[in-house]
């Protein structure tokens, strides 16, 4: 079927929902497509808070938030974007409250705020209370609140429609084409549909599933990111992937930084607060890349718990009241998934693959750009984790993922409404679904080859975890590149056993694995080329940051034999790069 709309939003997490809400308020005929149900989106798992310099408990200013964001990102942040982020964080949080978000409150009824990693007062002096929160389910409440508002405003949802291709009018984006819609598969019956629109927003989230130990949902396979890449749009800064320090050992489920924001400590086998040695001022509230590296150093020095590959997160001294009122969910996670009682025992933790700083390049209006000159692809937008605007640079600060998706989701919706008002709807594209249909049919029709998505996925995840993780070097990355190429070749021979049309999740997973392989390839190639250490990209063979050579964004284009790399300048407006100490 062919559905004509004016705007299409792909993905129903925080960014997609806020954009849809803006479009609905402007009366733009909009459809939201999600491969899940909206309330299943991964925004819902964000725990600790959303930073905004409200100053409800102590002095704070958006300029301080901007500075922390730039420094936290090891100066790879585009400072014009960071300024937008820090300024508009304030009004978006207030607007969320007006929409009904149940923030925790101060005794005088204002939004309560707590400390979070890397967020400081007066340009780095001391931790500041900036994170607004709803217990430790802030993301859940953001997702619910935005979905509620979308219902109130009559937004049209296509639940369990997986987007499998992007459509362009007037040629591919590299040749000046504009966005014309998407092809989506209805999971309930496998049918392919075209959704035509003037403006298309990609808000498809992250792709942590390319790693073995990850906090990311099974559904986070980078669909929108990979589809852009396949259509010639470059991917920006993909070598920067954040490992969060406190994942549950072995399975990666996150124990929020809020635990440390409330005063939780990290301990090694000797019972030492080892962060003293790595970040004497901010201690456990140093940025995540630094804490994760410190943990690896401790483990390598034999000071992991019992000599093993994990450390302790200790919240016992916070007392029952703080733990139960402010950290209930993560306490529950420790009990359920580790059988540990945080009230009386320290909790074993290890770094877990958490967040992609890189993604689809955009400007501050969430318009997708396609080259070093930031040439806009007309009608195509991206926001949230799948996008790279770039407010996180080489390392994202805690809570800034939520700030990012709120601020730029909102901006995306507004810009899409303006754009859609001034252009004609693209005409139907003949045979738009045929390329994807052929790809899916090829997998379905292939006789058993012995190659399954599950097996290839397991090997990819192990390779990325072991060789493209917290620490990297040229030799490991070269090996990883060869492995990814091998897995890509095997993926071309993949076969499935399910011949049906109804919820053929085996077919869907095979396609999702292809997205992950594309993204892994770009990640490894970008990391291999960047011969310096900056933020989350830490090369043991190039341990120093090299501003002279590498203060620039990577742009990876799809080539015939893997990615071709080009580079783009970083926007520096207020803060000159300095050494990064805490």
């Amino acid at each position: 079927m062919d559905y004509p709309f004016d705007a299409i939003v792909v993905g129903a997490g925080g960014a997609g929902l806020w954009a849809a809400l803006e479009l609905a308020r402007e009366g733009v005929n909009t459809a939201v497509l999600t491969k899940l149900y909206p309330t299943r989106s991964h925004t819902g798992t964000a725990q600790g808070g959303v930073c905004a310099a409200l100053g409800n408990l102590e002095e704070d200013h958006w300029e301080w938030h901007m500075f922390d964001t730039v420094k936290g990102g090891d100066y790879l942040v585009d400072q014009d974007a960071a300024e937008v982020l820090a300024r508009e964080a304030i009004e978006t949080v207030i607007e969320l409250e007006h929409m009904g978000l149940p923030f925790n409150r101060t005794p005088d009824g204002k939004i309560d705020q707590r400390r979070f990693g890397g967020h400081t007062s007066n340009y780095g002096e001391a931790p500041v209370r900036r994170a607004c929160f709803a217990a430790d389910r802030t993301g859940h409440m953001i997702l619910q609140t935005l979905y509620q508002q979308c219902i109130k405003h009559g937004v049209r949802f296509f639940d369990e429609f997986g987007v499998v291709d992007l459509l362009f009018d007037g040629g591919e984006p590299g040749a000046g084409g504009r966005a014309a819609g998407v092809v989506a598969q209805r999971l309930a019956d496998g049918e392919l549909h075209t959704f035509r629109a003037k403006a298309v927003l990609l808000a498809t989230g992250g792709f942590g599933r390319m790693f073995r130990i990850t906090s990311n949902a099974h559904s986070l396979t980078g669909d929108g990111v990979a589809l852009c890449y396949r259509h010639g749009i470059p991917l920006q800064d993909m070598e920067f992937f954040q490992f969060h320090p406190t994942g549950i050992v072995g399975i990666g489920i996150l124990l929020s930084e809020a635990a440390r924001g409330e005063g939780g400590t990290l301990l090694n086998d000797l019972g030492e607060r080892f962060m003293e040695r790595y970040a004497p001022k901010l201690m456990e509230l140093a940025p995540r890349d630094m804490v994760s590296r410190a943990m690896y150093q401790e483990i390598r020095a034999g000071r992991g718990i019992g000599g093993k590959d994990y450390l302790y997160l200790d919240v016992r001294h916070l007392g029952r009241k703080v733990i139960e009122e402010k950290l209930p969910d993560i306490t529950d996670f420790a009990r359920i998934y580790q059988g540990v009682e945080p009230l009386t025992e320290p909790v074993p933790v290890q770094p877990t693959a958490h967040y992609a700083m890189g993604g689809i390049p955009t400007n501050v209006s969430a318009e997708v750009t396609r080259d070093e000159k930031s040439t806009v692809v007309p009608g195509l937008f991206a926001a949230g984790e799948c996008a790279c605007v770039s407010v996180h640079g080489a390392n994202r600060l805690g809570t800034n993922s939520l700030v990012d998706l709120l601020v730029f989701g909102r901006r995306a919706g507004r810009q899409m409404a303006r754009y859609a008002g001034g252009v004609e709807r693209p005409r139907p594209i003949p045979n738009a679904v045929e390329p994807v249909r052929a790809e899916l049919e090829a997998i379905r029709a292939r006789p058993s080859s012995g190659e399954s998505a599950a097996a290839i996925r397991t090997e990819l995840q192990a390779e990325m975890m072991d060789n493209v993780g917290v620490y990297r070097d040229g030799k490991l990355l070269t090996a990883a590149l060869a492995k990814v190429r091998e897995l890509e070749a095997r993926h071309d021979r993949i076969s499935i056993t399910d011949c049906g049309s109804v919820f053929n999740t085996e077919l869907i997973e095979a396609r999702e694995l292809g997205y992950l392989l594309d993204i892994a390839h770009v990640t490894v190639s970008s990391a291999l080329a960047r011969t310096e250490s900056r933020g989350a990209h830490s090369r043991e063979d190039y341990p120093e940051r090299d501003d002279k050579k590498w203060l620039k964004h990577t742009l990876a284009y799809r080539g015939t034999d893997g990615p071709t790399l080009r580079y783009k300048d970083v926007s520096i407006t207020r803060f000159e790069p300095k050494p990064r100490t805490y």
């Binding site: 899940l36 149900y37 309330t39 299943r40 989106s41 991964h42 819902g44 798992t45 207030i94 409250e97 007006h98 929409m99 009904g100 149940p102 923030f103 925790n104 409150r105 101060t106 005794p107 005088d108 009824g109 204002k110 939004i111 709803a134 217990a135 389910r137 859940h140 409440m141 619910q144 509620q148 508002q149 219902i151 109130k152 639940d159 309930a188 949902a217 099974h218 559904s219 489920i253 969910d329 529950d332 996670f333 359920i336 998934y337 580790q338 059988g339 399954s452 599950a454 097996a455 397991t458 499935i496 056993t497 399910d498 049906g500 049309s501 109804v502 919820f503 053929n504 999740t505 085996e506």
Partner: protein, 232 residues
């Protein structure tokens, strides 16, 4: 250790009726049922279909009937279940394929209670104030993840599928008792009709089923009392 995992299978394109299949699965006692399903799909039968996303009890995708009780597959461990584990789709909802049920009716009921803040007063420049006590009044029902475990465990819902069900009442409660909301009267009107709160027989299945530990029966009773109070 090994467990016998029985799964109620159904493929609408092949089967006339659901049937049980049993798989011997090597597991760790700390594995969750979701881990087992993923393992069976990878190693035994790629066509096994189920919903899952976050994998740690927040997204609400993988509610199913596990050893006779509604549970999230990602939140229940093998060591809590024993060596024989049976998994079936949520009861009371139409089965689409294997463990996947039709959810549109469930979400339709959710939408019917106006699950959004209703407040038409002019917005202040900063946040609306709310005391910690007023905030605590509806805290429990903000935890709902719309997994449908409660509604599909409710005998009143099985007997009368038109019943709005515990999940929708929980979502209404979240707003009715929010001091910032002005829509209580509209929602109480909706919930006082023949398919509203009076269908609840306080059987407490919903409370047992809720993976978020919400005291659902209490929430329903508070809504019922508010209806009575309004009439009185």
């Amino acid at each position: 250790m090994n467990v016998d995992l029985r799964i109620l299978r159904y493929d609408p394109e092949r089967d006339k009726a659901p049937h049980w299949e049993t798989y011997a699965v090597a597991v760790d006692p700390m594995d969750r049922v979701l881990d087992l399903l993923i393992k069976v799909k990878a190693e035994n039968d790629g066509s096994l279909s189920f919903r899952r996303s976050c994998g740690h009890g927040i997204c609400g995708s993988d509610a199913m009937l596990i050893n006779g009780r509604n549970r999230l597959a990602c939140r229940i461990r093998v060591d809590q279940l024993g060596k024989k584990i049976s998994v079936a789709p949520l009861p009371g909802l139409p089965v689409v394929k294997d463990l996947i049920v039709e959810m549109s009716g469930f979400f339709g009921k959710y939408r019917s209670v106006k699950p959004y803040l209703i407040n038409e007063s002019p917005e202040p420049e900063r946040e609306r104030r709310q005391s910690p006590a007023d905030r605590a009044r509806y805290d429990d029902t903000t935890k709902c993840i719309l997994c449908a475990a409660c509604t599909s465990a409710c005998p009143s819902f099985w007997a009368r599928p038109e019943y709005v069900g515990p999940a929708a009442i929980v979502q209404a409660h979240r707003f009715i008792f929010d001091s910032r909301d002005e829509g209580a009267a509209e929602r109480l009107e909706i919930l006082s009709d023949e398919n509203g709160v009076w269908r609840c027989r306080t059987i407490f299945n919903c409370v047992d089923a809720c993976p978020r530990g919400i005291n659902i029966t209490r929430a329903i009773l508070e809504v019922s009392s508010a209806i009575v109070g309004r009439r009185g």
